[in-house]
Amino acid sequence: MTMIRTLWLRFTDKIDTPLFALAFALLLLGIITLASAAHETPARVTGQAANILVALGMMWAVAQFQPQTLMRFALPAYALGLALLIAVALFGEVVNGARRWLNIGVTRIQPSEIMKIAMPLMLAWYFHKHEATLRLRDYLVASLLLAVPVLLIARQPDLGTALLVTAAGFYVIFLAGLAWKVLIGLALAGCASLPFLWSLMHDYQRRRILTLLDPTSDPLGAGYHIIQSIIAVGSGGLVGKGWLKGTQAHLEFIPERSTDFIFAVYSEEFGLIGNCLLLLLYLLLIARGLTIAANAPTFFARLLAGAVTLTFFTYVFVNMGMVSGILPVVGVPLPLVSFGGTALVTLFLGIGILMSIHRHRKLVQT
């Protein structure tokens, strides 16, 4: 008995209970919503359960590492990610008009996904290495390390991932203490370069932005999805239509309703009250992540934990903003809720990193 207890304690030693409890609650809501959204394809629910098990395994594994070990992965992971991105640009497979996939014989992989973790890891490592002598030059180098993969991803094109990788990298740079005046200058320059960015965009990307500004301009085309999605959210009302009773969802008015637009299904069936619960869970999870970051022992750990947490927040905000019609449609899933194994694994790797940093904070304190 005691042995089992000891084993269990050993097993759960590195698991942060609040973080795990929050993530688990979100997974639960996700599975419940998925059961409704994918009621015609129940295989998705079992598939997602399998994804969850794999992702939790990854989380557990990562949580066992010490942050110093993680630091060692930084450069190889980044280099591998970059190499694969270049390979995609050269030999990638085109699916639905985007060159995102790389066929490595046994399976296809999406290297841009690796960058979601590799990017903050790399930048945090870089800043940690130059911690004592941080100068503007270091920020420029970091920006370059960020820009190259982002441009490769954006060219695929994969706006959603490019956005998340940019966010992850930017959070590291921001937390590393980039001067405010530089930040403000960048913001102004960014605004000024909007027309230039516009000219770089693909037609469908421009259309998404125009559609956001006025969905009714194209009610049957690009605007249709967003209109139907907003109707689903709005018609949910205060308490929602009830589980399995969302008409927009079940009559197939909501596009991508088990993946990127699952929030529309959730909103329709559980209403504003459900949304408040969801926002609260996310907020607590993010708060926990930021607390871990604030209390992390090393510069590397702080930057990594902060960036991972804020990237998680970016997922939430971009996805909900898109579904509720205040942000353009970009392919960002609702973290821990949307169906999809890759995103789940990436997210739990992040949570695993947070746990690793939290559990090993005393060991490295010098």
């Binding site: 959070y171 921001f174 937390l175 203490g177 139907q228 907003i230 109707i231 689903a232 959210v233 709005g234 018609s235 949910g236 009302g237 205060l238 008409t247 927009q248 009559l251 197939e252 008015f253 909103s267 329709e268 209403g271 504003l272 949304n275 408040c276 926002l279 996310y282 907020l283 993010i286 708060a287 930021l290 970051a293 604030a294 510069f299 702080r302 902060g306 804020l310 927040f313 905000f317 909900m320 903003g321 509720s324 019609g325 205040i326």
Partner: protein
């Protein structure tokens, strides 16, 4: 050193935590924004989006009522419905129409003509929910499509009721046809505030009874509330209000009589209207040639349409209703009655007919060379003496003629219950003033009255008007409004709403004058121009032949049938009623370009009367009877 490092470390941590704090504030702000947006959508705008979602979800599907049937007086069906499967495309829900049709063609047969018809429908029926690409699918085709249905969003099989006219060309002008609702129909429907009742209705009466009794035939549209998915396909029914079928029309028409009349025409063009004098009920209503109304129901193909439209025989014209013809000598009995009533002649008064009437420099020629000699009123009708009526016309004056004869309905719409009636021309001084613009054309010349006297000149009437006048005379001056529908039958309740005979007017006529004219018309069929056609008739009858010039003859030119092209030959006319004492039927026949009325029109009248009064039936065109010299 250590202290400085420690301090530095502390500062660094402080700055980091500050930035984390700022990020936290940013997160809170972003979440607040999301929350505000969600409150706005789910609370403030809830009603709006709730309605939107319901509109998405619930589709009001109209259920078309069965269109009422059209039956003749004895219950023979002239227009009915049958159910068949159609393959329909909702153009608004199909992205690539051409491609979709191509793919459909791989499953069910779609001919080139189906495609052209579909395109025409797309143009004509803008805004229609769904349009048929194929009609009358076989069971096999239905099954084939059903298997592949998932591949075709916006395409579906519908069980539809189709209109069918089982008698094809028979009585086609009278029954009319229905066709797809077009822009003009939509306007009319909207004006009449009937849009709701026409949701789901694709067809509307276009001509004939189908058009004029549209409101009775259509019925009341039912509704079904159906939950639909984003592809527009019904998932389940929420509620249903059944449609109410349209009412049946039961006509006064006797379809067997119609058949006899149409067959009597043979290959000839023309019109015949037979009326029951005591009610105004139409017994037969013929316009030859006819057309097949079935061609129009699902949109006529361009080739057939061209054929019908460009044919010299003009089969689409309802001659009985909209064709106007000079009455020729069939005008004479009314002229004679006018003379009696207005005291311009007595029956005994005679004239001498030298074969012409001299008016100034102009010589109005009688048909009979050398003239009829001494002619009283009886003989003037029986032998159809032109000179008598040239003189009479001159004596009466155009306005007296117009005033008296107008009472019989000449030159005025009868008010029959189908649309498209022509007015015709009852010439008078006032008419000419209105008709022409130049002052010299507006003036009425006395010489013009003389031609009017024998039913020529400006005179132009529809066969319906001629039949109505005959019926009025037969009925001693009491005129009924002609009508085709006997009663309207509510299918569900069985309730019958009769169309009551409506007395249009009762013309004040002296009984002895009417009796005299009737006797003279009887004489026509026993000893006059109609005698040959009515030889050995087993009933008494009244009749009057007429021959109407199509092209004006020069003064001294003798009309020679053989030398006139077919289309310029005279029209043959005949008016009749029978039996003489208690008329049961009155009719008017016009046979276009057939020459003498006695020869071509009277035999048709004979066949119709034989069938109606005796039930005798000869299933072949009426034989032409040889003309006497004094025919006209």
């Amino acid at each position: 050193m250590r202290l400085a490092e420690f301090k530095d470390h502390q500062r660094e941590l402080y700055y980091f935590q500050l930035r984390i704090g700022i990020a936290g504030v940013f997160v809170l702000a972003a979440f607040s924004l999301l929350l505000l947006r969600l409150v706005y959508l789910q609370v403030v705008q809830y009603d709006y989006y709730h309605t939107k979602a319901e509109d998405n979800r619930i589709s009001i599907v109209p259920i078309m009522p069965n269109r009422g049937l059209i039956l003749d007086r004895s219950g023979t069906v002239l227009a009915r419905n049958y159910s068949a499967y159609t393959l329909e495309i909702s153009p608004g829900k199909v992205a690539d129409l051409e491609n979709t049709i191509d793919e459909l063609a791989a499953i069910v047969e779609i001919r080139a003509s189906d495609r052209t018809r579909f395109k025409r429908l797309m143009i004509e029926a803008k805004g229609a929910d769904s349009l048929p690409i194929r009609t009358r699918l076989t069971d096999e085709e239905v099954a084939k499509f059903a298997v592949n249905r998932y591949r075709f969003a916006g395409v579906d099989i519908q069980a539809r009721l189709f209109r069918q006219y089982p008698l094809n060309e028979m009585a086609s002008h009278l029954v009319g046809y229905i066709g797809r609702i077009n822009d003009r129909d939509v306007e009319r429907i909207e004006e009449a505030d009937l849009s709701a009742n026409y949701k789901g209705t694709d067809h509307i009466g276009k001509t004939g009874l189908e058009q004029s009794y549209e409101s009775e035939l259509h019925g009341i549209t039912g509704y079904e509330q159906v939950e639909v998915d984003s592809g527009g396909r019904g998932v389940r029914t929420l509620s249903r209000t059944s449609p109410t079928s349209g009412n049946n029309l039961v006509l006064t028409l006797d379809i067997k009589l119609q058949e006899v009349a149409e067959e009597a025409f043979g290959e000839n063009r023309g019109a015949l209207v037979a009326i029951e004098p005591s009610t105004g009920g139409i017994l037969a209503f013929v316009s030859m040639p006819g057309f097949d109304p079935n061609l129009f129901v699902e949109g006529i193909d361009p080739a057939s349409w061209d054929l019908l439209n460009t044919s010299l025989d003009r089969p689409m014209v309802n001659r009985a209703l909209a064709g106007t013809y000079p009455p020729g000598s069939t005008f004479k009995p009314y002229m004679a009655l006018a003379a009696l009533e207005l005291g311009k002649r007595t029956p005994q008064q005679t004239i001498h007919d030298p074969g012409f009437f001299q008016f100034g420099n102009h010589r109005f020629r009688d048909d009979k060379v050398g003239g009829h000699g001494t002619v009283d009123m009886y003989k003037s009708i029986v032998a159809s003496c032109d000179t008598y009526y040239y003189m009479l016309g001159n004596d009466l004056g155009i306005d007296n003629i117009a005033r008296f004869i107008g009472q019989f309905g000449f030159g005025a719409k009868t008010g029959i219950d189908v649309e498209g009636e022509a007015t015709g021309v009852l010439p008078s001084q006032e008419w000419k003033r209105k008709r022409f613009r130049k002052p010299e054309q507006q003036k009425w010349y006395a010489g013009e009255t003389i031609s009017v006297g024998i039913g020529q000149g400006y005179n132009a009437y529809t066969p319906l008007q001629m039949a109505q006048a005959m019926a009025t005379l037969a009925n001693n001056g009491v005129m009924f409004r002609p009508h085709l529908v006997n009663y309207i039958e509510n299918i569900r309740s069985g309730e019958r709403t009769p169309v009551k005979p409506k007395v249009e007017r009762a013309i004040a006529l002296k009984a002895e004058n009417v009796e005299f004219i009737k006797r003279a018309l009887g004489g026509v069929n026993t000893e006059g121009t109609g005698a040959r056609a009515f030889a050995k008739a087993e009933y008494t009858s009244a009749g009057k032949t007429g021959t109407a010039q199509v092209v004006a003859m020069k003064q001294n030119e003798k009309y020679d049938e053989k030398h006139v092209t077919e289309r310029h030959r005279d029209h043959a006319l005949f008016i009749a009623f029978a039996p003489l004492d208690s008329p049961k039927i009155a009719l008017a026949v016009v046979v276009e370009n057939a020459g003498f009325g006695a020869r071509a029109a009277a035999p048709i009248a004979r066949q119709v009367l034989d069938y109606y009064l005796l039930g005798k039936r000869i299933d072949k065109p009426a034989p032409e009877v040889p003309a006497d010299d004094d025919d006209d």
